[in-house]
Amino acid sequence: MTVEIRYFAWVRERVGTEAETLDLPEGTQTVSDLLSWLKNRDERFAHAFEDMDTIRVALDQEHSEHDQLIGNAREIAIFPPMTGG
């Protein structure tokens, strides 16, 4: 499954890229599966995702929980807690 991944704020700074297109490995079902896989890619990702509880994810521009299924989402965004307003 091919998805577009986008990173924002300090997650973006730590992983060193704004966006990338990735083929998810077999068996990547939930948001949590994806995050664990990304965390093991290299040191930058390990650093970005060191405190998994602070990581927020949106599937196709809607907020999602870590235990949610990725399903057919085409755009997955990963970012820290929001500080707008």
Binding site: R6, F8, A9, W10, R12, A58, Q61, E62, H63, A77, F79, P80, P81, M82, T83, G84, G85
Partner: protein, 157 residues
């Protein structure tokens, strides 16, 4: 009232005119009894900051704020609702966000504006980075537990 109104939502780098936006919600109308306007501005934090930089998630920012605004319109009998959130670099004293809510009665206008701000803080995909006047690069503003708690006030139970 014939059902919820459609809110006006703008995500923009340009400044906004809070007075003109608020005025537009009551101009020429005779059914608006209460107009509540919230303007969020950039503070310099006792002279420490030269600017705030607001990163946002284009597309989702508008979608998410529209969801929150529509929720407010279905929850309170508003006659008008405008939400504007800026992104990019904003100097101290500059405008960041505007919520203007109009209704026949004041409680609805107050609560809707308050609700909007609570959920913008915790759900709108914007991130603030501080730029310091002196010294090294600034850091990202941390999310506050107090904001999460404020947002939870609106959920029964």
């Amino acid at each position: 009232m014939s059902g919820p109104i459609t809110p006006k939502v703008l995500i923009q780098a340009e400044d906004f005119d809070a007075a003109a936006e608020a005025g537009a919600l009551s101009a020429g109308r005779k059914d608006v009894g209460a107009l509540v306007t919230f303007t969020g501005l950039c503070r310099d934090e006792d002279g420490r900051l030269s600017a705030l930089e607001l990163e946002h998630y284009p597309g989702m920012a508008e979608a998410e704020i529209t969801r929150i605004a529509k929720e407010a319109c279905s929850r309170w009998p508003l006659t008008g609702l405008t939400v504007i959130h800026r992104f990019g670099k904003i100097a101290p004293g500059g405008n960041i966000v505007l919520v203007a809510a109009a209704s026949s009665h004041r409680r609805a206008a107050f609560e809707a504006a308050d609700y909007l701000m609570d959920f913008l803080k915790t759900r709108a995909p914007f991130w603030k980075k501080e730029h310091l006047k002196e010294g090294s690069e600034g850091s990202w503003v941390e999310a506050k537990t107090i904001d999460d708690d404020a947002a939870k006030r609106w959920t029964p139970g």
